[in-house]
Symmetry: C2
Subunit: 400 residues, 2 copies
């Protein structure tokens, strides 16, 4: 028998000690059980993935430029893909973006990590929507900011909430203007204009996170904050993603911002992961370069529109009048406000016993938590299970 080993002794950083397992993560573990009807996920519908088209693209890249595709590449990203993104940004009203104002990243989540590194010192004030995207809060939190939440109403973020006191010394405001995660709400044009003007006036950078913008299935497309902001001198850093328009397993996204900001982010990305996979960038460029998305996206939008409709119909039938919920014009999520006395965390425990899951609202708040809220995703669940799952939730809410 061996002698007893000395105990492991090591000290983690303060930020690592502060980490707790995410609520969503723990819930998703439960929801992996096949019998669970899960409205908790944030996964896009796999039937929308253009598998054959991407397979052909990988094939062409590897047979024609294999050694380039498998070699190290520039930290900034694959030049033709950067140029494609710059051109594509015209669709969201950003007409003057140069390819060197685009940085390719390994998914939007990486962009959030890099922006945390760029802007956040311990205690730095960071403005977020209430509620906001949990994944962004997790990324930023590694850099120990002091969150201040900006009030929202049924129209989303309220620009008049950017009071002098709130914006003073804030490093940036983080906003999702289209079909926000978790609420599904969209900022109207007037609020977008007010937001960029206010931020320009007070010198507050805006991080515009727009992973869902191309998934609009109702209402009219609105210009993004990047183009609106540039016109009035606001600093806007736009995050885009290929996760919802092509496939999330690729881990591919981009940041569009001024040269000064991109240049710092390139240095940060070099230290973070050198560069995003060359082959992935080349295969995605090969996929999108000739207008594929214009023919592909209508079917994805139609799929999401129908799924959203199934859930809204079921909610109208089964949820009591004491509940209210958002009616998204795009994206993946519906946000439910339950009667004040219901804690959605407790509701989840009872729902899981009945094989239904969702995400409670509390973790999406940095303060002024509203425990009587929850996020429902309608994307990957078949119509009949949406109906039966919503019926169970309605029954449990009525019993509460």
């Amino acid at each position: 028998m061996n002698a007893p080993l000395p105990p492991s002794r090591y000290a983690f950083s303060q930020r690592a000690c502060n980490l707790t397992s995410s609520a969503i993560r723990e819930i998703l573990k439960v929801t992996e059980r096949p019998e669970i009807i899960s409205f908790a996920g944030g996964l896009p519908a796999p039937q929308g993935f253009p598998v054959e088209v991407m397979q052909a693209a990988y094939d062409r890249v590897l047979s024609q430029q294999g050694r380039v595709a498998l070699q190290y590449g520039p930290t900034e990203g694959y030049a033709p893909l950067r140029a494609w993104v710059a051109e594509d940004l015209k669709r969201v009203g950003a007409h003057d973006i140069s390819p060197d104002e685009v940085l390719i990243v390994s998914g939007s989540q990486q962009a959030l990590d890099m922006l945390g590194k760029l802007f956040i010192d311990p205690g730095s004030k960071v403005l977020v929507e209430a509620p906001s995207y949990l994944g962004a809060l997790q990324s930023f939190s590694l850099f120990d900011p002091a969150y201040v939440s900006v009030p929202t109403d049924q129209g989303g973020l309220m620009p008049q909430g950017l009071t002098d006191e709130r914006v003073r010394d804030a490093r940036f405001i983080y906003a999702l203007p289209n079909f926000q995660n978790p609420t599904g709400l969209t900022l109207n044009l007037q609020r977008r204009q007010e937001l960029v003007e206010r931020c320009a006036a007070v010198g507050l950078p805006i991080i515009e996170d727009d992973p869902y913008g191309d998934l609009r299935y109702a209402g009219e497309a609105l210009p993004g904050l990047l183009g609106l902001g540039r016109a009035v001198g606001a600093t806007v850093i736009r995050l885009g993603s290929f996760s919802k328009v092509l496939a999330p397993g690729l881990r591919l996204g981009y940041i569009a911002a001024s040269r000064e900001i991109i240049s710092k982010l390139v240095q940060i990305k070099q230290a973070t992961d050198l560069h995003t996979a060359t082959l992935t960038q080349m295969a995605v460029y090969e996929t999108v370069k000739s207008g594929f998305l214009a023919t592909h996206l209508p079917s994805v939008r139609e799929l999401y529109r129908k799924q959203c409709g199934f859930m809204l119909d079921a909610m109208a039938e089964h949820f009591p009048a004491t509940c209210s919920w958002t009616r998204p014009e795009g994206g993946m999520f519906i946000w439910v406000t339950l009667p004040e006395h219901i804690d959605s965390g407790e509701l989840l425990a009872r729902a899981v016993e009945r094989n239904v899951a969702f995400v409670p609202g509390a973790p999406f708040y940095t303060d002024a938590v509203r425990p009587n809220t929850m996020r429902l995703s309608f994307v990957t669940v078949p119509e009949d299970k949406i109906r039966s799952g919503i019926a169970v939730l309605g029954e449990l809410i009525r019993q509460s």
Copy 2:
């Protein structure tokens, strides 16, 4: 004409303000000119990339499991690849690694970033070899450590340099035991044993970075620090990479460590980029699962051995006796010590005028900088250009 825009005003984090452009990066810009003979690069030889094999692997994965390959995946990594890595670690003497002690990452550089997050608070003491891998220093520096360098000699890191004073309150020691970047030196078995025993005794975690271990073309393979360390109760965190055995453009690597450490790193990775690309992991697993590397690596090793020999021969012919240099048993780099009066940064300026480039040694040191050193890579330069480039350097050194 538009009214003048208000000035952009924003504050970067202190760490971002401290960033300066890397010396290697600036040099590599010059070396992109086609007339330059560059010994500066750290790129593997593209003729060693198994393009056709990987193309077939991507094809199989996308045609057989396309929707899984393009969907979000677990943060921990693709389970069959984790199991393959755990099994493969037996080759380096780590016989008891469980798949859940393996975390898949987007290249070793990402592992360094995540370990910086895990261990480094501002001012935390971090032990590094002198000289050490520049990319690691860049990653760690984002978290503002206090570096303390451990002395090295012609045998690499000296375990007796881990004095009580040096190790006190240190968060970890970062070491590259095989064909170190930048020196090409390898720790012998006795030093490995002394290192893990000393670290076990004082409770100092070891980060073992081993991207080049499979590129041994001379001498005998030695057990890695992970297996040696576990046997004596040391905490070893091993970083491995597919960059040098398959292709770097994939951005794929792994971390092997105890469950407690992997579990914290999973939380950190979730906030950093959610997970590494599913398709990449599945295609690499498809490539390696049936023993491909055992047949592929001998040809890569032979290529590197020959290239290394060309450079050593040319140096023996052209470099004056006042220079000394390492004779690597594997990997990609030779480290040159010039006469004390020569500053390799100044030498580089004159070399670039003659269309030859290399990396000066200074940036690889955190303290006690030796400016009369330089790193030469022999991997991607054809034999005739190795000869003429080394001849130019020899001439310039003699003139100094």
